[in-house]
């Protein structure tokens, strides 16, 4: 009898030894004459348990982790291929407390299926959304997305349906669907996990978007830092083409849709939509002035949908289960679920998909188990390098676009970076300016030059030179950058600086004297 064994091919799992574990299990199985079928799945997102090995038994998928190559002979000796007891045994994967309470809609298949098998994808509910979309008028597809309440998961939280409606209304010889896969925010990896773990869901979402607005060509703008996602997407696109889900005759419905991956080249700014379009056209990723909006005049001057990976990957579920089913999740104006990423100094880091409304405290302590170092958590940065630092006193804030905006923070792409009490917030503020200086596209002076001046001013504060005066100067500089930049990089890079000054002023004052 052949036993199916799942070992993640996810980049994060590979980074801590999943490849060596797969080799050890294959070799040991051969040595013992045990017949196994190895599947390289995505990650379930519980990174502290990676490499997480799953074995298919009659009772379900049994999990073992974190597995090291050295443990492999003992696992075989304990008959783990039949779910045998072993200190690394975690029970049924679906019963893991960390996974059990999650509401996985967009990530329902990530870590479950063979990522590049169309058959496995369809078997687990894939292409149901496309099937539904093919029976609908374009305007009705857009209406369903609007009714679902889906907002852009890349960070800007703009209503997706409104964006699509604008593109649908344009008359043009060619329209485009572009997927922004330039996930550059520190503390975020949902896009990467999804592209590696269920790339066909993204491709299906783009195909549905194409049907909705009348676009026949899709581009995925992927960051060069993600070689594993690149390989998964290329394999999935080839498989979808071979199975007739992409190309001249999508699912036999006589409609054309093609998808191509284009690689970025290490520029954070290209996650900004107009800069991404410039880069896709083969130019420097300098921000464009809006209007015109990309929905009217986008890629190569044509009407273009620009959506984040998770936004597009949420579309198939909405079409398959209905807009109302999706809108039932969430709170206020934040409908549906959000894949939250727990990162940095956290004991149990990984991906938690839940309806909007969970508090930071629940995430940090119930899911995360506190800091990795065991020290008190002093601050978290939510929403990437342009997001505010949030002090422990505000950990009861709910994760909802409006609630975070209410405390001067932002949810962004749902990444939470945790810092313990050894963090020096003045240094983190300096880093925010340094990052902006490195990554500025150079178009707006306050961003291009202000960020460098900001580093210098903080250096003077750190050196104890004229502290009070320089803190005031820094506050003024932040104001200028916020109001004098075209896009979010210069306009928001001051947020972490301002929040550090506001909530952690003692870290600056220590140097003031």
């Amino acid at each position: 009898m052949t036993t199916t064994v799942y070992i993640p091919g996810d980049a994060g799992a590979l980074s801590i030894g999943a490849g060596a574990v797969a080799q050890a299990i294959t070799a040991e199985a051969q040595r013992r004459g045990a017949r196994i079928a190895l599947v390289r799945n995505g990650s379930r997102g519980a990174y502290w348990l990676e490499p997480l090995v799953e074995v298919v038994t009659s009772g379900g998928r049994q999990a073992y982790g974190p597995v090291t190559p050295a443990e492999v002979p003992a696992l075989f000796a304990a008959d783990f291929l039949n779910g045998g007891a072993h200190p690394l045994a975690l029970g049924l994967t679906e019963s893991l407390p960390w996974l059990k309470g999650q509401q996985r809609l967009t990530f329902e298949r990530v870590g479950v299926i063979d990522p590049v098998s169309v058959a496995d994808y369809v078997k687990h509910g894939g292409y149901q959304g496309l099937k539904r979309a093919l029976s609908m008028a374009p305007g009705d597809i857009v209406q369903a997305i609007t009714a679902s309440g889906l907002r852009g998961r890349g960070g800007a939280a703009f209503p997706t349906g409104i964006k699509w409606q604008t593109v649908l209304e344009q008359t043009a010889a060619q329209k485009y669907i572009t997927c922004n896969a330039d996930e550059g925010d520190s503390g975020t990896f949902a896009d990467r996990m999804l592209m590696e773990g269920d790339p066909l869901e993204l491709i299906e979402g783009m195909t549905i978007a194409g049907l909705a607005v009348g676009a026949t060509q899709g581009y995925i703008y992927l960051r060069a830092e993600y070689p594993h996602a690149h390989a998964a997407l290329q394999a999935a696109i080839a498989a979808a083409n071979a199975a007739g889900y992409l190309g001249a005759d999508v699912a036999g419905a006589g409609k054309r849709f093609d998808v191509e991956v284009r690689l970025g080249a290490g520029a954070y700014i290209c996650g900004e939509e107009t800069s991404m379009l410039e880069s896709l056209e083969g130019r420097r990723g300098e921000v464009r002035v809006r209007p015109p909006l990309p929905a009217v005049k986008g890629l190569f001057g044509q009407p273009t949908v620009v959506n984040n990976v998770v936004t597009l990957a949420s579309v198939p579920w909405i079409l398959a289960h209905g807009a109302q089913a999706y809108a039932q999740f969430g709170m206020g104006k934040s409908r549906g679920t959000l894949p939250i990423q727990l990162a940095g100094n956290i004991r149990r880091g990984g991906l938690v998909e839940r309806a909007f409304g969970l508090t930071l405290r629940e995430l940090l302590y119930d899911y995360g188990g506190g800091s990795a170092t065991g020290k008190p958590i002093r601050a978290v940065q939510v929403g990437g390098p342009l997001g505010a630092y949030i002090p422990a006193a505000q950990f009861d804030t709910a994760l909802d676009y409006e609630a975070l905006a209410g405390i001067g923070a932002m949810l962004g792409h749902g990444g939470i970076v945790v810092f313990d009490d050894t963090v020096d917030m003045a240094r983190m503020a300096r880093y925010a300016m340094e990052f902006c200086a490195i990554e500025s596209c150079g178009k707006c002076t306050p961003c291009r030059i202000g960020s460098t001046r900001g580093m210098e001013v903080i250096d003077r504060i750190l050196a104890g030179v004229d502290g009070e005066r320089n803190v005031r100067l820094l506050e003024e500089l932040c104001e200028t950058m916020v109001h004098g930049s075209l896009c979010g990089l210069g306009g928001m890079a001051p947020f972490p600086v301002q929040s550090a000054l506001k909530y952690f002023r003692e870290d600056f004052r220590a140097r003031v004297g």
Binding site: G12, E225, L342
Partner: protein, 159 residues
């Protein structure tokens, strides 16, 4: 150094020809040149510009805008250390200091024996397993100074 030889020019011409018909091909062309040669030599600029019918300034502007594109030959192994916030929260700065000392070079430099180049990188999407490093396209998580030394030792014997 790095005067282009005829076979290299021919290779670049072939790469441009392959991508020429596609919309907005310049980044694709530069990626392909770097994949083939390890970097984008100055001599490639006029060849690409002429064949794509754009100015040399435009090609130069694009190469210099993106951190990923290299204008000089890198070491045999490229070591990139994540310096973004999540990795900082788990000791990325100390790891970077260790790496500089171990390799005897600063960021953006290559060892004298041409074996290693050391680069900062801003997020590898491995933020739940910080600090992270990328060595020749392989991702590593929870990199301690000891693990870093072991990885460098592994790569010191092979080219």
């Amino acid at each position: 150094m790095d005067t282009l030889q005829a076979p290299e020019i021919a290779a670049i011409r072939r790469i441009v020809a392959e991508h020429q018909g596609r919309p907005g091909p310049l980044l694709e062309v530069l990626h392909a040149i770097q994949a083939a040669l390890g970097f984008i030599p100055a001599g490639a600029v006029p060849v690409v510009a002429q064949q794509l019918n754009i100015s040399r300034a435009e090609v130069h502007g694009v190469i210099t805008f993106y951190h990923y594109f290299r204008r000089s030959r890198p070491g045999a192994h490229i070591v990139s250390l994540c310096q973004a916030e999540a990795c900082q929260s788990m000791g990325a700065a100390a790891l970077a200091a260790h790496a500089r000392e171990r390799l005897g070079i600063d960021f953006h430099e290559t060892t004298a024996d041409g074996r290693f180049s050391l680069d900062p990188i801003y997020c590898l999407g491995n933020c739940a397993c910080s600090p992270a490093a990328l060595i020749d396209g392989r991702l590593y998580g929870r990199v301690t100074p000891e693990r870093f030394d072991a990885l460098i030792a592994e790569n010191s014997t092979s080219s």
